[in-house]
Amino acid sequence: MQRIGVFVCHCGSNIAATVDVKKVAEMALLEPGVVHAEDYQYMCSEAGQARIQAAIKEKNLTGIVVCSCSPRMHENTFRSAAEKAGLNPYMVEIANIREHCSWIHKDMEEATKKAVILARAAIAKVNLNAPLKPGESLVTKRALVIGGGIAGIQTAIDIADAGYEVDIVEKTPSIGGRMSQLDKTFPTLDCSACILTPKMVEAAAHEKITIYTYSEVEAVSGFVGDFTVDIRKKARYVDSDKCTGCGVCQEKCPSKKSLSEFNRGLNTRSAIYTPFAQAIPNVPVIDTDACIKMKTGKCGICEKVCQAGAIDYQQKDEIVTQKYGAIVVATGFDTIKLDNYDEYAYNQSKDVITSLELERVMNAAGPTKGHLERLSDGKHPKEIVFIQCVGSRCADNRGKSYCSKICCMYTAKHAMLIRDKYPDVNVTVFYIDVRTPGKNFDEFYRRAVEDYGVNYIKGQVGKVIPQPDGKLLVQGADLLDNKQILKEADMVVLATAIEPNPDVRKIATMLTASIDTNNFLTESHAKLRPVESPTAGVFLSGVCQGPKDIPETVAQAGAAAVKAIGLLAKDKLLTNPCTAKSDQLLCNGCSTCANVCPYGAISYEDIEVNDHGIRETRRVAVVNSALCQGCGACTVTCPSGAMDLQGFSNRQIIAEVDAICR
């Protein structure tokens, strides 16, 4: 039997004016287990807490109920007060007689009655409370960053600067990501490579950062503070230690017909290649699908020309297993496929391109060496049409429901750069809305209109019709003039919607991080915990969480780093003790609970049991208390009632129900 003390707070007159606190204390004494009851002006004050502590010691209390304000306010206060008096903090329950009683009722008799019942429920619950102890788990002081774009690089640098080891895993042969493909950046128009390359070099040179390029995360196990990750280092067929990055192999390679991924397939590359000149590491990889030696056994030219002897056709994939305390996802984005948008003729004409492709066309290292040319015939265009919101803001199932956020600004940038470099080119932008929230953003867009004479037309384009003479007939609407417009263009640029990198689904599943219908990773709280995944120890950086531009990405990358550092700085983690617990005697091992667990906290073990003299092996659920957040979804789904939630057990809740309905 418990020895329970009940402490009724007046909260000045907040409670006492409407609730007869003396009566509540008096009635509480009649409840089973209650050996002490008192009321006091301010229970949360130091004097109030001292009274509680004194009673705990004097009367050997095993549990206490404080009738006061909301537990959201002072539960922790009373728990730590109890703990200081030697009582387990989880033997404290709060009856909320302020927010849920005195403040909403006027009649004293009625409010007092209700307060008595609320106290009764709390007493009934505390009668069934058991002391709980937070668990402890160790923290591995190393972070993993998945994705080596600007988000991943920034996060890694920030974590490494705080003194922790960081590994970056990047799928492609070089870090740099989308930003490395951009020509200029808004709203300052500085060159993307000029600001990105130093960051790439800094990451590569950082003594605390290890970069795994051409590598993918293969498996993740463990939990916050103690993840174990398998990283597959795909075979490059080039020894990174020996390669000097001279580039002769790429020059001499006879297989030069593969489409360049980096240039969005607008030109070709050799079978042995680095994606771009400033690639880090500057070590090529061999594309086995294109390599003549790999396909036929003949050739081997790269091996012959390599002075460093770095070519190794026998290289195999390698699995690196590493432990991490924190994982940051920075998997970025891609543009959507335009197969559903026949009306824009993207698949019919080479001169209809996406904005990302235009970035490559404008770039000095791109397929046209930076000259603005039609990709069909290399001619200089005179008339360029930009179409906004291609696949963004779509309620149908062809595109994405969200605004891709960056298109308005980069289109203004493109328009401006073209008009600046080629004043003879007319630029028309068809838009639905121009969205420019951001520092100096609207000014930037207005400059495009006012200083550079870009023709903005409010209205969408219905159709792009390739003409026999190679021109593109653009049929659009001008909603302000209420006119339909037919415009002959030489090039059409589509502001294509962006979507999370499709690989993120696989990664999210491995991390048990949740993902929304658009494949964006879900944050723990949309406003207050925007860079944390609901899965403890997993953080979000960049566009994998939602559309953003570079400054926002960098800011979020830093924020994710700080959260990761906050975790790595701890030696041990205290875990919430109100976790689910499976009764092995009752568990059927049916796996239903694991299906509803949002944290992947439930696993199954085969245990040897002796059941009435029969030895058998039984599959039972085991809850990892470091991962469990205590939602209780499993407890209800469990058909046998084997799963229960500590601190909110079935019997405790039923006792409260009974006390209220008595």
């Binding site: 919101c389 803001r393 309620a395 409010k458 969408q460 219905g462 159709k463 909603l479 339909q484």
Partner: protein, 128 residues
């Protein structure tokens, strides 16, 4: 029937929720009969939303729409003005006793250049 009811009826017949429109104008940009119309396809949506059905059914546009459904196909918001126009037409047809044209009115309106197929499909549409 009040304006409100008519607007409601159009929404019901078409299954269209005009509130979903984000006024991008892709319908008007797609419309092959745009220049013939007095009320433009994107305006159809706001007329229904504002419950100004009188103007809508009195408009030339109602009978200029070819039901090519380019706007239905391309509308990014699932608003589909073509369906609204079709519904407005049905409203008129219903009020005219299921017939917009009586057969004896037809010869006078005929253009000898008009292909037979078009006539047949027109009858299919206007005589429900």
């Amino acid at each position: 029937m009040s304006h409100v009811n008519k607007a409601k009826q159009i929404k019901e017949i078409s299954g269209v929720n005009p509130l979903k429109c984000m006024k991008c104008g892709k319908c008007s940009a797609s419309c092959p009969s745009y220049n013939e119309m007095d009320i433009k396809p994107h305006q159809f949506v706001s007329y229904v939303q504002n419950e100004d059905i009188e103007s809508l059914v009195a408009s030339k546009s109602l009978w200029k729409c070819l039901s090519c459904f380019a706007c239905v196909e391309r509308c990014p918001r699932d608003v589909k003005p073509g369906k609204l126009i079709d519904a407005a037409r049905q409203l008129v047809v219903r009020e005219k006793g299921q017939t917009y044209l009586s057969p004896d009115e037809v010869p006078e309106l005929l253009d000898p250049e008009t292909p037979q197929q078009l006539l047949v499909s027109a009858f299919r549409r206007y005589r429900r």
